[in-house]
Amino acid sequence: MGKAGKHTWTFSNQVYIQASGTAVGPMEGEGPLGSTYDVIHEELHCGESNWELAERKLMFDAVYACLQKAGVDQSAIDLFLAGDLLNQNVTGNYVARQLGIPVLGMFGACSTSMETLASGAALVDSGFADQALVAVSSHNCTAERQFRYPTEYGGQKPKTATYTVTGSGAALLSRTPSPVQVEAATIGRVMDYNIKDPFDMGSAMAPAAWDTIKTHLEDMGRMPSDYDVIATGDLSSVGSPIFRDMMKQDGYDLSEVHKDCGMLVYHSDQPVFAGGSGCACSAVVTYGKLIQDLMEGKYNKVLVAATGALMSPMMIQQKESIPGIAHAVVLKRGEGAS
């Protein structure tokens, strides 16, 4: 256990992901990764009477899918780290109310997925928890209401806008060997290069992804080629090339390894503007496809940098710019891998 370089944690006590669970809405289910999710809802309401309840249902589904796969009862879990995009972290808190597990609510906008995973891994590594459950969620319609306009409002969005992923991802961490190990995490700084357009979060977040991943590579003494995939959370088709060119300026060529979860989660012909976004965007891709590929041995080591636009509609109206953040976690094939 310890710090490597400037901002990186390495988990020397071997922290593993025992199992993961994902739940998504209809558009994500129809997307290219449809077969990798545990629960797919046919309808955006997920059988509930309002959008907030629908998001809560998604997090429940992801958590229970994860616990069921791990074969662990919720009473055996020491800590629940949860976050979402809504005010007062309502989804995580109301799910925690029912789970009855000690909880820490976390917020890092769309970077919350890796923020909870990194924090959970650190707490398991240090022995403060034997089994920690991490979960995040987002819902297109709750996010629209929280950050933009009513869902049925007929405003025109520009091509740089992103589409919030409806879904939730959960993972169970412990020191029991399993096929997927959490090796290290790099905690990001807030980066703000003065982008003010709330319909262009890819441009706002690209500097944060660049800073965190560059710091990570320096701290670990690694090159991009040491990873099979370097995945960013939701830079979209606008932010991804900006991020890659920023890395190139520093001599890192990511053209072979970089993928953006926001562009993996939907088909290019789905009406999602520049790509997917939201806490669930990086979570459902990481806890679904990436973990499955690690288990199957398709990948040996992946770096996931979840990107977050720490945006508040009120601050935007007060003419503030959008701060970005990114947290990165290294997942690799563990001892239990076949």
Partner: protein, 152 residues
Amino acid sequence: MDKQPLNEQNFENAVKSYQPKPSYVMNCIKAFIVGGLICVFGELLSQMYIHWFDYNEENAMNPTVATLILLAALATGFGVYDKLGQFAGAGSAVPVTGFANSITSAALEHKSEGLVLGVATNLFKLAGSVIVFGVVAAYVLGIFRYLWSLIF
């Protein structure tokens, strides 16, 4: 050099080449056609009220506007108007149907918080600014018109 360096000082300018440009001409054409069609439909409605019902050219406006508002509210509830809005932009936002959409969508959105604090409080969340500036502009113009009539 076509690409500028992506650093903190120059970032806002440098990223412009990465951002897809809005198709201004195409958007204008779409807005013109859809907005125009809504107005043609309104004209047909008012002709209908004049010919088939007992309205004259002056007061046929009232049932016409009411009908357009009703249809826009229904289209909002059925989840059609937001898709039309994404296609047509100002074409569907500027006519009275856009105003109806802004009110209906807010009402639908806040239904879960109850009729009084949800629907009633938030009904004019988007449309409120339109009303404020509409009333203020009408007031100012009214004064000018009155002064004009005094002089001439």
